[in-house]
């Protein structure tokens, strides 16, 4: 596939040209962190970031999305009838996504795009989006991508892999869409042998810096109910304050709520990020709640990622090791430790 070298000073030119035909999202400085934003100028993209605080899932699965609109006006012939609303679902490029975050899209595809039923908005945005990944040369201490089946230079969910080198970037097309994006770019030059080997050594160094902390494969063999009843959940759940930070920041947490909102006589049906950490998530109208206890909710999150998803789809785990939940959990519940307990299935006091 097409592989080009782009000098550092020419990258904004390349991105700018692509901005003419597509909406380009990239990591930009946001307060004391980074966030994926729609670029209005190519030089706003900042590829020195380690990772964004919020995962780029918001680009495909917005935190609050209008699904339908309707009128509640008495006598309106369309009173009470829901209709789709126009959305910007045209071509988009996400430039500089980390390979782990891109992998997360693939994992979530399995939920939203099935043989029987397809989530139209997830699918359309996915189809319209070209992913230019930024290889992760210096993974953080909270990263554990290699333990969950991906890696700092995993190209399997990308259209283009970009590797930062001393003088510029190596851009390797991975798919046809990636190839089309790079084809004929005047900013690029064919990559020389030494450029390619420089990129290889950057990737190898990064991969080596990430030891495998646990091996999730044996979880497939463990009976679901046995893991469910394991004694360690009691210990794992104690510190949790059910704040939902982990689920909101997680690139593979897709759960959502559906709500109606009315302003005067116009209404909308919305979908909103939701969290299995919240008691309301499972509260029945009758008042019964199958996950009324904190332990049940904490267990649900980890079991979903490392057992239910794996068993249901023969894929996963539903975690890409981005480390956001580890970094931002206000009480230091560490998914790496929990996954370790699940795979070892023992109570392991530290």
């Amino acid at each position: 596939m097409l592989t080009i070298f782009v000098p550092k000073d020419k990258l904004p030119g390349l991105i700018g040209r692509i901005m003419d035909g597509a909406r380009v999202f990239a990591p930009v400085r946001d307060g004391d962190g980074y966030r994926f934003r729609l670029l209005d100028r190519p030089d706003k993209a900042d590829f020195t970031y380690q990772n964004t605080r919020l995962s780029p899932k918001e680009l495909i699965h917005p935190p609050a999305e209008t699904m339908f609109s309707y009128s509640l006006k008495k006598g309106d012939p369309k009173e009470g009838i829901l209709e789709e609303v126009p959305k910007a679902l045209g071509k988009r490029v996400v430039w500089g996504i980390r390979p782990c975050d891109a992998k997360a899209f693939q994992l979530v595809d399995i939920n939203f795009i099935t043989d029987q039923v397809v989530d139209p908005w997830w699918q359309k945005r996915r189809q319209a989006t070209v992913l230019v990944g930024l290889g992760c040369a210096e993974p953080c201490n909270t990263c554990f991508c290699t333990s969950v089946g991906t890696g700092p230079f995993d190209r399997s969910a990308l259209d283009v892999l970009m590797t930062e080198l001393a003088e510029g970037y190596l851009l390797e097309a991975v798919t046809d869409a990636g190839e089309a994006l790079l084809a004929g770019a005047p900013e690029g030059a064919p990559a020389s042998g030494s450029t390619l080997s420089e990129a290889r050594s950057v990737a190898e160094k990064a991969e080596k810096s990430l030891p495998r902390l646990f091996v999730p494969e044996p979880l497939k063999e463990k009976p679901m109910t046995e893991l469910f009843q394991a004694a360690f959940w009691e210990e794992v759940q104690f510190a949790c304050i059910n704040c939902g930070t982990c689920t909101f920041l997680c690139p593979t947490c897709w759960c959502f709520d559906i709500q109606d909102e009315v302003h005067h006589q116009e209404g909308v049906r919305l979908r909103l990020w939701d969290s299995c950490m919240f008691p309301l998530f499972t509260l029945h109208g009758s008042g019964h709640n199958p996950r009324s206890q904190k332990l049940q909710r904490v267990r649900q999150r980890f079991m979903h990622k490392f057992k239910y998803y794996v068993d249901k789809y023969g894929n996963g785990p539903a975690c890409v090791g981005c480390g956001r939940c580890v970094q931002y959990c206000p009480v230091n519940i560490d998914i790496r430790r929990v996954a370790g307990m699940m795979t070892a299935s023992c109570v392991c006091p530290t």
């Binding site: 201490n141 909102e261 909103l272 919240f278």
Partner: protein, 316 residues
């Protein structure tokens, strides 16, 4: 090892052995730099997990609400004030608690350290008296710990527990000459439009995850107003009106109850300075009633009692 660590372990051992408590709530070593994890110790053979350091910022009072058992809890000044409030609000009984008071030197704000490191990844952080040593793959920095404390710790005037069964160390000198409300006065001095914009900008990145609410030891309503559907007080989207409503109502619910423990700000994944809302209320309560929440166990808080000479200045 911090001197308190030994003391905490010794006390835990003793209290468990004497069956004075069913468990001990404290901290254990965190898995990442500058973090410690709250832990519940039930058995003598787990006591060695207990630890203490300047990264124990989590307010352990959050784990006490509506408990049925008897527990020992390690409490900093702010934690102890929240315990006082929980006792006043009947969320737990005094005879269920054995409070291990931890006179506090302030807790490190890891976000400040991150900002200082400008993207360099900290792999280890240790404390040595007044200094904080942070090291990574190819760097080591030794900094003045005081400069990296949580904002609320820097202006804290109740570092010593206000209620306890035993102290883990000698009381520390309270910070003198602290200006608690410098930032509030700055906001008060703004014109209404500027002030409006200030708060709009402040909460612009809010994702409505409610981590601030859940981290707060005083937020324990069985159904939070944001979760109520009949009637639905507040919309659930990121619409600025709804986000604003959430933050304002959360703050108002904290009036006269907030101890400025900083748990909300510490928990916010988006780094929003949510204390900007509660601090103004704290200042008002202090000015109107001369009252600081959770400092004195006796008596009732001003907002749940009536006196004929109550200030009327809020009606203008």
């Amino acid at each position: 090892m911090h001197a308190y660590t030994e003391k905490i372990r010794e006390a835990a051992q003793r209290l468990l052995a004497d069956k004075k408590v069913d468990g001990v709530i404290g901290f254990r070593q965190g898995t990442i730099p500058m973090m410690s994890e709250p832990v519940f110790i039930r058995h003598a053979d787990q006591v060695h997990q207990l630890t203490w350091n300047g990264f124990c910022g989590v307010n352990l009072a959050n784990y006490l609400v509506k408990r049925k058992d008897r527990v020992a809890v390690v409490a900093k000044g702010c934690d102890s004030r929240n315990i006082v409030l929980q006792l006043q609000e009947n969320q737990i009984r005094r005879d269920q608690l054995y409070i291990l008071g931890a006179p506090c030197h302030g807790m490190v704000d890891r976000r400040k350290v991150w900002a200082f490191l400008k993207g360099r990844d900290p792999l280890q952080a240790t404390e040595d008296g007044d200094s904080l040593r942070v090291s990574g793959r190819d760097f080591e920095e030794v900094v003045d710990r005081q400069a990296f404390l949580q904002d609320n710790c820097r202006i804290c005037t109740h570092r010593n527990p206000v209620i306890y069964d035993e102290l883990l160390g000698d009381p520390v000198p309270e910070q003198a000459g602290v200006d608690r409300y410098e930032d509030v006065r700055r906001v008060e001095a703004m014109g209404s439009e500027e002030r409006w914009r200030y708060f709009e900008d402040l909460i612009a990145s809010c994702i409505r995850c409610y981590a601030c609410r859940n981290a707060c030891p005083m937020c324990y309503c069985p159904t939070c107003f944001v979760d109520e559907s009949r009637p639905q007080w507040v919309g659930k989207t990121l619409d600025p009106t709804d986000t604003r409503t959430f933050h304002l109502l959360r703050a108002i619910h904290m009036a006269g109850r907030c101890t400025d423990c900083g748990a909300c700000e510490r928990a916010c994944p988006m780094g929003i300075a949510v204390r900007q809302f509660t601090k103004k209320l704290e200042k008002d309560i202090k000015e109107l009633y001369g009252y600081e929440a959770g400092v004195v166990p006796e008596g009732r808080p001003p907002l749940d009692t009536y006196r004929p000479d109550d200030p009327q200045d809020f009606i203008k």
